[in-house]
């Protein structure tokens, strides 16, 4: 059962986007697809690698990549050569030709289908994700970024350090409005209820409106249209994990493309400065660093040289929620444990 294993620098292996397997002598190649987009030639190459070097199986990762398990450590160089086609087709920043993927402390940039496909999307999520990928990769710092087309947040941006949520500002042409009230109905049932009818025309509560543009989708007369400008809501420092999982909180709304891009790119200088050098594998969620330095210091760094567009509104101070497991691991209402309920036996029997 035990294979003979050669002298392997695992630190280097990980920085080459391979996962160390629990099976000794084996590894898994991690194929990063920025924006969750892959062409058929690259996909075929994933299949070919899995067939030739792996076990004929491929894992689809949570962050829109592929992971090819069961690769023998001695085949890593050959696999890297085979990955070259994908790296070129996917336009990945590379350090060494035929050297495979550079490390990703920074995780794959995730995107929902976006405006190329989805009727509800307010911008091209994949294009923006790939633009950011070009700007920040490769990078050792542990940063998670996700792009989603509308407030539905199908890309789960609220579990990321930076979540970018698409917005359009609804434009109202009252001369085309016949007050069929479909916008009001759909806004109420599927969004936040920011619209109401006043004297046969629609009033939009501009503070309540989240810019999802459902009203535009459901307007049958083109009274509602999308703003030419694409806007973004930026949410910050959501995370999963052992200590304090939490949702990202609102930082900006109605931000424009340049503002968003600069803010994201600025985070790396902050991490260079404040990352705990003693952190295990030099990896720390940004949020825990912000807990140490204070939000003001973080804000100073990410807003450096940023001139937000005039419409952009920015939150000056943010408080996050989530449970602190390092302080309390109790179930919230432990006195009402299911097993102690009088009707527990009955419920268990499904009666």
């Amino acid at each position: 059962m035990n294979k003979t294993t050669t002298d392997t620098n695992l630190k280097k292996l990980k920085k080459n986007a391979y996962r160390v397997s629990k099976v000794r002598g084996e590894t898994a190649s991690r194929v990063r697809c920025p924006g969750g987009e892959i062409d058929v030639d690259s996909l075929q190459r994933v299949v070919d690698i899995a067939r030739k070097y792996g076990k004929g199986m491929v894992n689809i990762t949570n962050r829109q990549g592929f992971e090819i398990p069961g690769i023998d450590l001695k085949d890593v160089e050959e696999v890297n050569k085979a990955l070259q086609l994908i790296i070129e087709n996917r336009n990945i920043n590379q350090e060494e030709y035929n050297g495979g993927y550079p490390a990703s402390g920074t995780r794959n940039v995730v995107a929902c289908p976006g405006k190329q496909l989805c009727p509800f999307a307010n911008y091209d999520t994949k294009k923006f994700a790939q633009e950011i990928d070009k700007a920040i990769f490769p990078n050792d710092h542990h940063v998670k970024i996700a792009f989603t087309g509308c407030s539905n947040d199908c890309a789960h941006t609220r579990l990321n350090d930076f979540g970018i949520i698409g917005m359009s500002e609804p434009q109202y042409n009252k001369d085309r409005c016949i007050s069929c009230e479909q916008c009001v109905k759909y806004c109420k049932k599927r969004s936040v209820g920011a619209l109401k009818v006043v004297n046969g025309k629609i009033e939009r509560d501009v503070n309540k409106c989240v810019g999802c543009a459902l009203c535009v989708n459901y307007c049958p007369t083109r009274a509602w249209t999308r703003s030419k400008e694409e806007y973004y809501r930026v949410v910050l420092l959501g995370r999963t994990g052992k200590k304090n999982p939490r949702m990202a909180e609102d930082f900006m709304r109605w931000a424009d493309h340049d503002t968003v891009k600069k803010v994201i790119c600025n985070v790396y200088a902050y991490l260079d400065e404040y990352l705990d050098r003693e952190a295990v594998e030099s990896k720390e969620h940004i949020g825990y660093i912000v807990d140490r330095t204070g939000f003001e210091e973080f804000l100073k760094y990410i807003m450096k040289d940023v001139t937000p567009n005039p419409k952009c509104e920015i939150q000056g101070r943010i408080y996050w929620g989530g449970k602190r497991y390092d302080q309390n691991n109790e179930l919230r209402n432990s006195m009402w444990r299911f097993s102690e309920r009088e009707d527990a036996v009955v419920l268990k029997q499904g009666e």
Binding site: K115, P119, A121, N122, Y123, S168, K174, D175, R176, C177, I178, S179, C180, Q182, V198, N199, G200, A213, V216, N217, Y218, C219, P220, T221, R222, A223, T225, R226, K228, E230
Partner: protein, 339 residues
């Protein structure tokens, strides 16, 4: 008499015409479609022929010039009313053959349906001339040929833009000078018409009363989302509803508006006392379809639908009106043969 122009020459024609008329034409509105980065073609005023979208059929029809989506009729105070002002300048509307046929339907409903003509319609209608946009190809989902609306000779002048040249056949003597003075060469010009549409439809001659409650409509109760888009894009839908609006600051001053209405949208058949005459979308579909290809004919001798195909193209649930007519025809055959 026909003329052939270069684009710049034809724009001179428009320039002269604009001295007396506003030019209302289909225009591509970039980014104003339902979804991000989708467009819509709807009518607006133009000054240059390049600003008109003449290749693709407009998503919304010309009818907004005659029956605006939302129109203030008059203002009222305690004891007085005042008719709303309107733009009285004459208009030339560029439209396809099917739409020119649709004008006849609008006229029928507003000025040929009972003892009183519609005063608001007439004051707009009297100031409008129609110019024909020739059809180089059949529009998506169209069935104009089977509805007999693919050809017309009722136009002031025609426009066919082919290979950068503008071909015009001018019939209206009042406009002739504008065309003659703009350069361009005289020629015999025939506007283009399509002779084969995308779809073929067969309408039933008679629809027996049993079809009223036929299960064929149940399908539409499930599929249709009663958004009313089919009505709003239809060049022959004429329904409106009235809004009396009291200005909130005062409460005794206000205005009366009329806005387009849709027989598919909730509220259309609500009556005093809370009764709703057609609750299900299948019933609404039945009403609409039979009105377009049967009931109107019973009253006026010809069918209302002109087969432009806009309702098929716009439907968010991919319901095909053309297919529904054919289904209706097949169902009528089944029912009558089994009697």
């Amino acid at each position: 008499m026909g003329f052939v122009y270069k684009t710049e020459e034809f724009n001179k024609v428009l320039e002269v015409l604009e001295g007396n008329y506003r030019i209302f034409a289909p225009v591509l509105k970039v980014g104003e479609g339902r979804f991000r980065d989708t467009d819509v073609i709807r009518y607006d005023y133009i000054s240059r022929i390049e600003d008109a979208e003449l290749e693709e059929r407009s998503d919304f029809s010309f009818k907004e010039i005659l029956i605006p989506l939302s129109e203030t009729m008059f203002y009222f105070t305690e004891n007085e009313i005042k008719e709303a002002d309107y733009d009285a300048r004459p208009v030339i509307v560029l439209m396809r053959s099917c739409d020119i046929h649709a004008v006849k339907r609008l006229d029928q409903m507003y000025t040929g349906n009972g003892p009183n003509n519609d005063w608001f319609y007439e004051r707009l209608r009297d100031r409008v001339k129609f110019a024909l946009i020739g059809c180089g190809k059949a529009c998506p989902n169209s069935f104009c040929v089977d509805m007999g609306s693919n050809k017309t000779d009722e136009y002031a002048f025609s426009i066919d833009v082919v290979d950068g040249k503008v071909y015009c056949d001018v019939k209206d003597d009042e406009l002739f000078a504008a065309f003659e003075g703009a350069g361009g060469s005289k020629d015999n010009v025939e506007p283009r018409f399509v002779t084969e549409a995308e779809f073929k439809v067969t309408r039933p001659e008679e629809v027996p009363i049993e079809l009223f409650k036929d299960p064929m409509w149940d399908e539409y109760t499930k599929r249709c989302v009663n958004c009313g888009r089919c009505n709003f894009v239809c060049p022959t839908c004429t329904c409106f509803t009235i809004q009396d609006v009291f200005y909130t600051d005062n409460g005794r001053v206000g205005e009366r508006r009329r806005v387009n209405a849709s027989c598919m949208v909730d509220g259309y058949t609500d009556v005093a006392g809370g009764l709703v005459m057609r609750k299900t979308n299948g019933e609404r579909m039945r009403f609409k379809v039979l009105h377009k290809v049967y009931d109107f004919r019973k009253r006026f001798g010809y069918d209302m639908c002109v087969g432009c195909g806009r309702c098929d193209t716009v439907c968010p649930e991919y319901i095909s009106f053309a297919n529904c007519i054919n289904k209706l025809n097949a169902r009528v055959k089944e029912v009558t043969e089994n009697v």
